[in-house]
Amino acid sequence: MSEHFSSEVIQRALQGELPPEQESAFHAHIESCSVCATAMERISGAEQMGCEISELLQADEIGDSIPGREEYSMTDFIVEHLEPSDSPEALGQLGGYDVLEVIGRGGMGVVLKAYDRELKRLVAIKALAPHLAHTPLARKRFAREAQAAAAVVNLHVIAIHQVQPNGRLPFLVMPLLTGESLAHRLEASGTMELKEILRIGMQAADGLAAAHAQGLIHRDVKPANILLEKGVERAVLTDFGLARAADDVSITRQGIIAGTPEYMSPEQARGEALDGRSDLFSLGCVLYEMATGVPPFRTDSTIATLRRIVEEQPVSMASLVPELPPWFCSIVERLLSKDRAHRFESASEVNQVLAGCLAHLQQPTSVTLPDFNGATDSMKTLSVNDALLLFVRMVGNMFLGRGITEGWPVAIRPKPPCTKLPFWFSPIWALTVIPVWFFCFVTILHTLFDILSLVPAEKLGSQNEIFSVLTCAFFAFTLGLAAAQFSVAVTPSRKLRPLMSLWILVPPYLLARQVAHLVANWYGQVYSLVPARLTNEIGTYLWVAILSTIIYSFVIRREPSKSPQQKTSSA
């Protein structure tokens, strides 16, 4: 081992004045010699200042940059973050890509146009803004969300070629699309044609549906993040997850909102946990702006905008643009519901509705408008055929133990959605398993009574009699339940619901009786005994049915269920 370095040498090494060959020898020596390492720590001041430095430079909950002041010059950016490139037309290199120019800058990142040498193509690189890159939390989020976004494969979601989460500046690489953002288009043209609006809305909803299917919420759907490709009629969503990377720093730490809050959902404005339906609200804002030329909640200050989003209804679209068809306004209104349970259930549903509307617009004679009427007073628009179909679906759902309105058209889906009942409530269960059990039970009872001779046999009635009545009761019970669900689904007025339920109960009685007899036959073949006890059956049927209807009308109303595709993100 060589002898220790003098403090002059260490001083020079610290100032970077050692010649290169000595430099590496110095490194090697420091690694093995604790005496010199300690001397270096002392001379540099690291020993005394170590803790202080970490404390002073680490970001705390207030943050050191004044929001809005972290304006940052491009030259600084290039000098600080790009490595020199040997290509003359490049500004510099970032992670092996030749950066050609700066396309844009936002609150959370810088977008660069770059050239991929290996694949010989132009790409767009989005780098996390330097002030965020220093925050470990933002970096982590950036990486995670970029990776999640990379997993979304959809025509209407920007593809991600590469994610580079490490290094001084995390970045992601995307294809370079030619075209303009929806924000640019709106700036230039004001409003758009209805067909265009529907097409863009439909495609954006499709992209969102694909993202939501991966559990990814966009959080920042706005015209600037929807790219319209040149030549092809294709809208592409960009900027997935980046909004989130900024959230942690800007919103929770400094209480300020990065970028514009104009397209935020009320739950976002309140800082609550989000699901995919938050994006639907933002999409509603975008549709509104495309149709009217102004975003629905614009004011001159951030705080006022947030308040409007949470508290106020936007100016009605019809009053701004009278020629808009009412169905379009009601779609947008539903998207802009403050309560997310009142919006569409999923992006794919929005996609379907908009696609249906577009088809109708293009071929008004052959394609009818999707049945969409704001979903509340839907009975008015139901034809007899529709009603029949619904009834069949409902019965089918019942027997499968599913939510009774599953598979119904959006427009008449009740809101809030009906309670999905546990499987053991379903008739299929009631009619098969429970009777078997009861059959055994009754048989055992009979045998017991017989053995003990407590009750005279003729007063007991036959097994089948009891059985027939019991089956009828079960059927009535489940039908009563179905009737309650059905009336909740189709009757807008609460007061009318019980009446509606009772009406529904009448026709299935015949069916109930038939089934009761059949079941009785299965278990005992004493069909002839049943008609004599008709009054018993009717009595049982009515009492059980009415009771269960009333009980379940109550239960269903008290338990508004959650929609199945709710994806609550971790807060």
Binding site: E31, I43, S44, G45, I62, D64, I66
Partner: protein
């Protein structure tokens, strides 16, 4: 290192000259974050802090020429601190009059102002110190090589193990250690220089 020098009279004298734009920029760069952070520590929300900050900068530009060194108001920092708190108190009062609820307690602010004067002034000084360090680190970051800065940051600020950082950056442990000390030495110089110039 732990004691902060008082703001040099020269900067303040320069500030009093309305044509000296550079002095003003210098002042803003150093003190804006300090005051912003103080305001946030008083409990102001971000937007409100920005509003008061704006007011404060205006107030300083209007009244800096009335302040003369060595008078009964004491140091420039003390003066600045008092102006800051008075503005916050006024701001809360205004809010109360407009019937806007704030989370700030006016009485507490006023009472605290009297009783923990020393505490607050220490806090103010440490914020100035912090601001100086951040400015210095901004400078040094541009001067040194990317890897050197990364090595420093990971070890000294994020508190990672030297060996772990070395593996991640593809350097030897010795190089990481040297890089860390090199940056710290530079930071120290830069802070000293900044103190001199202000």
């Amino acid at each position: 290192m732990t004691t902060t020098p008082t703001t040099r009279t020269s900067l303040l004298l320069k500030l009093r000259d309305p044509r000296d734009h550079e002095a003003w920029v210098e002042f803003v760069i150093l003190y804006e974050p300090v005051i912003y952070r103080m305001l946030r520590k008083f409990g102001l929300q971000d937007a409100d802090a920005l509003e008061v900050l704006q007011e404060l900068l205006l107030a300083v530009s209007r009244s800096v020429d009335r302040w003369t060194p060595g008078q009964e108001f004491g140091s420039f920092r003390g003066w600045l601190r008092r102006v800051t708190r008075n503005l916050v108190v006024n701001w809360v009062r205004r809010r109360k009059r407009q019937l806007v609820t704030t989370s700030l307690d006016l009485d507490a602010l006023l009472i605290e102002g009297e009783s923990i004067e020393g505490d607050e002034s220490r806090q103010f000084d440490s914020e100035v110190h912090r601001s100086l360090f951040h400015r210095a680190s901004d400078q040094v970051r541009i001067e040194v090589q990317l890897q050197t800065w990364q090595a420093f940051w990971e070890v000294a600020v994020s508190g990672r193990e030297v060996n772990e950082v070395a593996v991640r950056l593809g350097l030897t442990a010795g190089a990481v250690r040297v890089a860390k000390c090199r940056v710290i030495a530079r930071l120290r110089d830069a802070v000293d220089k900044l103190k001199e110039s202000t």
